[in-house]
């Protein structure tokens, strides 16, 4: 058992990230791209890696207020992510709908549709805040492995 636990401790050092854009204004997405790719924040230090396919993902970051049009696509992609996975809502839009809350075209808050684990408020959140959220998500992911 301890051996398995040890292995799991190693496994959490490799959280692969995938982002679902639920109709966001780009702000959070640009910040995610910034967080993911540029030398200044370098999430690869934590073993994180952005992957192109949902099937490779461990931590899924959802941005945007989840428009009606994108809802089905987002759910389909979400289901393609193999378990165990952790969901992070990035920005205020997925958490509550933010400024678009009252619109007819918006399905937020997303916790009606996806089991959200971590919220990162901000409009958009700074990259450091996103990293903080990802760190929280990794801790949750360890328990689920």
């Amino acid at each position: 058992m301890t051996f398995i636990n040890k292995l799991k401790d190693f496994a959490v050092k490799s959280p692969w990230l995938y982002r679902i854009n639920g109709g966001s204004c780009n702000g959070c997405d640009v910040e995610l791209a910034t967080t993911a790719c540029i030398p200044r924040y370098d999430v690869e230090r934590l073993g994180c890696q952005y992957c192109g396919s949902p099937r490779h993902a461990d931590i899924v970051l959802i941005t945007g207020p989840l428009t009606r049009r994108v809802l089905d696509a987002a759910r389909r992609v979400y289901d393609e992510i193999p378990d165990p996975k952790v969901t992070v809502a990035v920005g205020v839009c997925p958490i509550s709908g933010g400024i678009f809350r009252e619109s007819y075209a918006v399905c937020a808050p997303i916790d009606q549709y996806f089991p959200v684990d971590v919220n990162v408020p901000g409009c958009p959140p700074r990259p450091q805040a996103i990293i903080e959220g990802v760190a929280k998500a990794i801790a949750i992911w360890r328990q689920r492995l």
């Binding site: 292995l7 799991k8 190693f10 496994a11 959490v12 050092k13 490799s14 959280p15 692969w16 030398p39 370098d42 690869e44 230090r45 073993g47 992957c51 192109g52 396919s53 099937r55 490779h56 461990d58 393609e80 193999p82 378990d83 165990p84 492995l145």
Partner: protein, 323 residues
């Protein structure tokens, strides 16, 4: 019986199997770390590929509903096993020489084609349109680079074989032994076209930028690997790690085997392969952009093929002049 056990050990432990796997993953880790440094980042720890592999072991493998399950799951397995065996065929100068029955360049060439074919099968079996594009691109790329490598190998074989008194040899052990006595082919002007052609071959075979076209993430999402997850994806990672060892090991055996024996030779070989990985793969990978498949195809028909033909001609002429 003992020779069979020795072969089994060679495939499973050293220099194939466990050793090649650990070395391959370590090479990948070093590659990522150094690439990060070149890009001005800290980068992941050296043993990151091991973490990735352990992680993938804990995940579920999902088989898409449109996929043909047997082929989908068999492809990564076959690819990894083929690479495991070919790792045992690579001689390490002064440390390990493969069984003469096994250590044949032609067998190695066939085995080297297997991962590509597996990727193609994986792409077409996954039932995704991106997998299909990945399939066609992998096929085109293989057609482009398989020609030159056969000619390169023939040139090296002829150079050794003619000097040894017969027409051509396909025994890697013999090629290594010849160079240990007569010096590296890398410094032999007649072999320079072959060296240059090989320098174009290995990035394509390893699937790194600028020739990572079948798996281009931003174009076809990861192509054949798109639908893979969990342990099956892990097997593909194992395959590519082993492939790095095999291809670079082949390069060392063909052009620059060390003339030492014993532990020094082993350490020397490790240094060689790490340097090749960092200079030949990492630096290239981060300093170039991707080619388009049609550009790559034309490029391969032009330069490496010409160079490979030139190398065979040069070897033949040199032999003719000498005799």
């Amino acid at each position: 019986m003992t020779s069979q056990i020795a072969t089994l050990l060679a495939v499973l432990l050293f220099p194939g199997g466990l050793f090649a796997l650990v070395l391959g993953l370590a090479l990948k880790g070093a590659d990522r770390r150094v690439a990060a440094r070149l890009q001005g980042r800290v980068g992941p720890p050296l043993i990151q590929p091991f973490f990735d592999l352990i992680k993938l072991g804990f995940k579920r493998t999902m088989v898409p509903t449109e996929a043909s399950e047997t082929v989908f799951l068999a492809a990564p397995l076959v690819g990894s096993v083929a690479m495991l065996i070919s790792a045992a065929l690579i001689p390490i100068a002064g440390v390990y020489a493969p069984d003469t029955e096994l250590g044949n360049l032609l067998v190695l060439l066939y085995l080297l084609a297997v991962p590509g074919i597996c990727l193609m099968l994986a792409g077409s079996a996954s039932g995704s349109p991106y997998g299909a594009i990945g399939f066609s691109r992998e096929m085109a790329l293989m057609l482009a680079y398989e020609g030159p490598i056969v000619l390169i190998v023939a040139a090296v074989g002829m150079r050794t074989g003619m000097a040894e008194g017969h027409w051509v040899t396909f025994s890697l052990t013999e090629i290594v032994r010849y160079q240990q006595v007569h010096g590296w082919f890398l410094f032999d002007p007649i072999m320079w076209p072959a060296v240059a052609a090989f320098a174009f071959f290995y990035p394509a075979n390893l699937g790194i930028v600028p020739f990572d076209i079948p798996e281009a993430e931003t174009e076809v999402l990861e192509g054949p690997l798109l639908e893979y997850s969990g342990p099956a994806l892990g097997l593909f990672k194992v395959m590519s790690a082993l492939k790095a060892v095999v291809v670079l090991g082949l390069g060392i055996a063909l052009f620059l085997p060390l003339p030492f024996t014993g532990p020094l030779a082993f350490v020397g070989w490790l240094v060689e392969i790490v340097v090749l990985m960092l200079v030949g793969v990492t630096a290239l990978r981060v300093s170039a952009g991707r080619m388009r498949i049609d550009q790559a195809f034309v490029f391969f028909l032009k330069w490496p093929l010409l160079l490979a033909i030139a190398s065979v001609a040069a070897v033949a002429l040199a032999a003719g002049g000498a005799s």
